[in-house]
Symmetry: none
Subunit: 221 residues, 4 copies
DNA sequence: CATGAATGAGATTTCATTCAT
DNA sequence: CATGAATGAAATCTCATTCAT
């Protein structure tokens, strides 16, 4: 069960000071909360474990968050909002062909989401708890999904305009283009390391397939 | 139905109380358990509510299941095993072109999974609780995913052999073909009815895109 | 601090059965709750002690009462409502002079309230917690005070009508007649047995004084 | 254990911060404590609220008082001791008839206690917490009740000596004379403003009744 | 002197599980 | 077989008290 009374009294402050000088208490708590919630889900997570993980006492959590629910909401928000920036950064270079941009976006999706345990964990929480916390799912949709789809849509339009891509129904549902990445994410969520998936090859197939479906007939594979 | 826990004593069920003469007690409990677990997740579901929903007393559950965990496992199993049959049935007709079969499979996926709340619920549980119940995810993988992938693979091979489809990396990862369906499923899980998705059009785009990516160059759109 | 796990398992039921066969569980809990709340006040009373006193487990309380507040309210109500009957019984005999009735009422007040620890305790709770539970004070007022005042008023009117008592301002405030009893009650509440009060003599003085103040001039002392 | 806790360091208070130049820190805290304790009772009062009300930090309380209990005791004492003076002042004029003095005393009781929310609050606390703090009730008895009774007794004796009042049992229990005032106090405690009582008329009836009971037969009403 | 972040004991409340009927 | 009252371990949350600054 590992050390149960982690650093009681005195040393704590001293330890802390040298540890993460830039982050505040609330951030540390949110980080600890994320680990617990991700590992156990909302209902099964114990605030005592959050505290232990954060190296603080139970009561300290309540100095910064109203209750378990408040902590959970704050935690999810703290992960969703900053994520937007990362996504936007994927295709900030306006130069390059549509295909180039699409390749960047898709491989970025793999690097930042599919292969990123933290991203998968937060996604799992959003799926698992969307019944109890629909607002959080809505925030996620508004802050991440919608901007992401917009970006995709713009790339598709650019490709169509430049003659790279053909015009097709898919332009109305750009999410189809990254669906294989989402599926891989779910795959990892459910099977973790138990059922391996050769992600490099998978992503290669994904990109090849997507481009093949988009390109105008007669072009090279 | 192989699962041993429930239905230990086949007889007697048909003749009790005349309530639901065809289903046995354990089945009723499993049905009630599914509703509760699906609505609240494993940890937050209360056995008292399962009992109430099943019209029985709390203690009765323990006559058929060892404990909450046993009930949950039995419930998930009872949903996974029979599901295989339905899937297999989708493309049982060996006749028809590969494209025909693929269309059938994909639209079947939409009808049976994407549009099916029960299927989505069980999938959500598998995702949400895969940390606590990895064996169940494994069963799901073995009984549903693997057979499904095999079927897809066979269709692809048939299509390649018949010259309908081209040879591509995607043949190694047939799941990519139904990925858009999975994404739609996740979409519904997370947003329910709050962010609509025109499923008919979406499926149309999905199928068009998939076939377009598979067909050999120079064929009709 | 005495025996902490009072009669755990087995014996409990057996003991119970032979103890108070007529009263139900909720009544037993209410009785235990009264003792605890009376001894410590609402906020300082611990439900664990209520349970211990009732020979039951903490959780059992929640089978019958929603929460601590619900238990408290139910307890106060269970004491207030039946009390009315006792009061009414004091002067049910319509025969006798007004003086006779008044003597009966006052001495009844001493016997049933002033000298009755249980009555004093509930009164103390009503006073102490009237800020947090004003409805309970209102019930008390409606069920006990008002009927009591009515009775007093009727006696006064009868006395005036029969010529025993003189007409005076006091008829509008009959509570003045039993005020000395209330003062004695408060005295006991505050000082318990530490500052004795010769209640027999006190009540004698009270009655003598009241009757002296009511009687018409020129009559015997 | 006497009064030492608070005001240990007399000087310095007048010159701090210019907030309330005449009162010292401890006094401000006691005032804030009174409001909180009066509003919620001892157990339910939160020291954090006391601090907030006093415009100080939680820790500051502990600079002047040992703990919550010490604060409470000091607060009650600080209210009881000075009260004596006010009472004594009521009938300091040795001149006047006994009736005059009695009228003064009773109406003083109404002005200073019955109509005085602060006095009622402290009385309620004494009643509510007499189980937990019997010493405070004793102090109250010694400092307030006993002197008050002595004063009453002296007036009665003076009245008897001067022939104004008759000799009666009541002389042994002078508290009976102000009992109606106490009852009105309790009435206000319990019902606040919800069940009005015409205090002017009530007091009139009280005084009339008391004097009527005391005067010798044959005198005017 | 004063602060207020941090602590952790303790109180309330929930709920899986048991078992006498 | 079925019940549901009862249990008590465990989780959430509060708040008096401490102490580094």
């Amino acid at each position: 069960m590992s050390a149960k009374h982690p650093s009681r009294r005195g040393p704590k402050k001293a330890l802390r000071r040298g540890r993460k000088p830039k982050e505040g208490r609330p951030q540390e708590i949110l980080a600890a909360a994320f680990e617990e919630f991700a590992a156990n889900g909302y209902a099964a997570a114990r605030l005592e474990d959050v505290a232990r993980r954060g190296g603080i006492a139970k009561g300290t959590i309540y100095l910064y968050f109203k209750d378990k629910e408040g902590l959970y909401r704050a935690m999810v928000r703290s992960l969703i909002y900053p994520a937007l920036g990362t996504i936007a950064g994927l295709v900030d270079s306006p130069s390059g062909s549509a295909e180039e941009l699409l390749r960047k976006l898709i491989s970025g999706h793999y690097a930042l989401v599919v292969r990123n345990k933290k991203a998968r964990d937060i996604l799992r929480l959003l799926i698992a708890e969307s019944g109890k916390f629909p607002q959080l799912s809505d925030i996620f949709h508004r802050e991440i999904i919608e901007p992401g789809l917009s970006t995709l849509r713009r790339i598709l339009e650019k490709g169509v305009a430049s003659g790279e891509f053909r015009k097709a129904k898919i332009n109305d549902f750009p999410q189809i283009l990254i669906a294989p990445g989402v599926l891989a994410t779910i795959w990892f969520m459910m099977h973790g390391e138990r059922h391996r998936l050769d992600l490099d090859a998978y992503m290669g197939a994904h990109i090849e397939f997507v481009l093949n479906g988009l390109r105008k007939r007669g072009e090279h594979s």
